[in-house]
Symmetry: C2
Subunit: 82 residues, 2 copies
């Protein structure tokens, strides 16, 4: 059975986010002052053929740990949609 | 009032996703065969000081259109969390 999984990989909360800062600079140039903070990470969608949601989640967790997220700078959250 | 907004920027569905393909190759090296498809985009969180959710959404839309998404290759979805 195919399971649809979403993974969110974001910079750790207390770390500086250079991408976010760059966009803040762009907003300043556009004269947009209402944005107080912006943080940019990765959004990943996966289709996993597995016997159960739990197995699909484990495969997503292995993928995130080994290939998608750098634990020194990022955290990730996994959601099994269906 | 501060509004929390999430933006998802993903590659257009019928476009090749090189990042996704690279991770598929990594999964293959790890001997993980259950993943049928993987697509990688951006997950953005914003804090916007605005008078209403609608105004916050408009500011997020302008930010996405001008600074975050390339309409030739990407689409975006905006969600005002609170």
């Amino acid at each position: 059975m195919t399971h649809h999984v979403q993974i969110k990989v974001m910079p750790l909360k207390d770390l500086l986010d250079p991408q976010g800062k760059a966009v803040m600079g762009g907003l300043d140039n556009l004269g947009i002052k209402e944005v107080q903070d912006i943080r940019i990470g990765k959004h990943i969608t996966m289709e996993i053929d597995a016997g159960s949601k739990e197995v699909a989640k484990q495969i997503a967790e292995t993928t995130a740990t080994k290939l998608l997220a750098n634990p020194v700078m990022e955290y990730f959250e996994i959601e099994v949609i269906g």
